[in-house]
């Protein structure tokens, strides 16, 4: 079944008619004297699949957190679907869905309940909510597992569920932070096929980050590479390969960002993530 059936009732005021859905201008974030994001500017066209790439510690996560209202910028301007995340956080939040790198589902609830909770948080009226939950769960092929507790789901199932959940409030923009990290090839393929359909059938803009360069090469329309807090390149994968005279996105990436491994200190979040993995999380 197509995604169109449930997304047809998209609200009239949408970014469909606007050319750019994300504008970032002079965005800067400093933490105690360390500049994580340094005067970054880029644009994402409506309906594009945009890859935001960069080595560890480059400022990727920080930029996304600012775009998604989780962090306040030190300076600079952003526009997400026509709204400023700093001045109108709630309006901006309604316009996008997000799938984080780390799970944000409630393990003690069922798949259906997780979906429902999201619908309530985003003020989706009850009947519409139930209809959309059904369509979305069927779309990601988890409808018959809707009554099962999420803690029994595999990593791939949880990721699929998070994608479906992020769509209940009909966003025009979907943020995906390392959507296929740690998943097997079949699941990765499935996820990109769902995302691809959302993009072609519904003109949903996709903003994703990944370390899997072949995937970015295959699916992205445009990309930007950030390193040490600054944008070092932007354009289509073809542009980047031409610019660096390489034949794969991975090679152009390495050419632009260098081959030294970025040493970072582990953050509190990293330590918790490792502990979580040790205790059998995914």
């Amino acid at each position: 079944m197509t995604v169109s059936k449930f997304l047809m009732d998209r609200p009239k005021k949408s970014q469909q008619n606007e050319q750019t859905i994300i504008t970032v201008s002079g965005l800067t974030k400093k933490f105690n004297g360390f500049t994580a994001v340094d005067n970054v500017s880029f644009e994402v066209k409506t309906g594009a699949i945009f890859a935001f790439l960069g080595p560890n510690g480059a400022g990727k996560s920080t930029t996304i957190k600012m775009l998604t209202t989780l962090l306040q910028p030190t300076s600079g301007l952003m526009k997400v679907a026509g709204f400023d995340p700093v001045k109108d956080p709630d309006k901006a939040r309604r316009s996008f869905g997000i799938v984080f790198q780390d799970q944000s589902l409630d393990d003690e609830l069922t798949a259906y309940e997780n979906m429902e909770l999201h619908g309530v948080l985003y003020h989706v009226p009850k009947d519409l909510r139930n209809e959309r939950i059904r369509h979305l769960l069927e779309f990601i092929e988890l409808w018959d597992r809707r009554g099962d507790l999420v803690k029994h789901f595999s990593g791939g199932m949880k990721r699929r569920l998070e994608i479906a959940r992020g769509l209940i409030h009909h966003p025009e923009l979907l943020f995906l932070d390392e959507p296929t990290l740690g998943l097997d090839p079949q699941t990765r393929n499935h996820i990109w096929s769902y995302v691809g359909r959302l993009n072609t059938e519904e003109k949903m803009t996709i903003f994703f980050t990944t370390h899997y360069m072949e995937e970015a090469d295959r699916v992205a329309h445009t990309a930007a590479i950030i390193d040490n807090g600054k944008i070092v390149a932007r354009g289509t994968p073809e542009d980047l390969k031409r610019q660096t005279k390489t034949t794969s996105l991975e090679d152009s990436f390495l050419a632009l960002t260098g081959k030294t491994i970025r040493e970072e200190e582990s953050t509190g979040a990293d330590r918790m993530r490792m502990r979580r993995k040790a205790w059998g999380g995914r």
């Binding site: 957190k65 998604t68 209202t69 989780l70 962090l71 306040q72 956080p89 709630d90 309006k91 939040r93 309604r94 997000i98 984080f100 780390d102 799970q103 944000s104 589902l105 409630d106 393990d107 909770l117 999201h118 948080l121 985003y122 003020h123 953050t267 509190g268 979040a269 330590r271 918790m272 993530r273 502990r275 979580r276 999380g281």
Partner: protein, 227 residues
Amino acid sequence: MVGSLGQPLLFLVALGFGFGPIYQRAGGGNYIEFLVPGIIAMGVLFTAMFSGIEIIWDKQFGFLKETLVAPVSRIEIMMGRTLGGATVATLQGVVVFIISFAIGFRPTNWMLLPLAVVFMLLTALFFTALGTAIASILDDMQGFQLIMNFIVMPTFFLSGALFPLAGLPSYISDIAALNPLSYGVDGLRGTLTSVLHFGLGTDLFILSIATFILLAIGSYLFSRIEI
């Protein structure tokens, strides 16, 4: 919930029957009767703090992160979470109360039971809010260990839960007088066994104000969470 009952139960039985005879001989009366309200408060304290602290984890790997990015006000989220945590902690207190019947405890005045639950709830709210406030600014679970040792344990031991505060050297009784839990414990003891140190009115008043202030602080810190 069942697992977390182990500790209060252990304290109740070990300390109650262990110190009972000596306490009685020293003229203190029935130690079990004295101890039960303290152990109820213990159940409430630990459960409340833990549910608040869970936020450290939840904001990175759990459902809380989803709520931080949703178009819902932080205050609403914080209130919901605090009330939820406080409810569980209060229930824990009630369960300890019921279990104490098995070792012979009986409240002296059944009519005051609702007031006892009020004290449990206020104490639960205070410590859930405290846990939430602390968790809002911490980034790492290592901090949790520190909290347990340097905040929760002293709070529990210096609150009159395990021993009477009357006649103690001033350095202990002064600290106890500054400890919000002392008023919760005293309120519980007053309503359940009619033994009071500060006075029911004082207990209610101080505990309410402290809880109110902490809810405000907790809300503020929670609203400023940045991950």
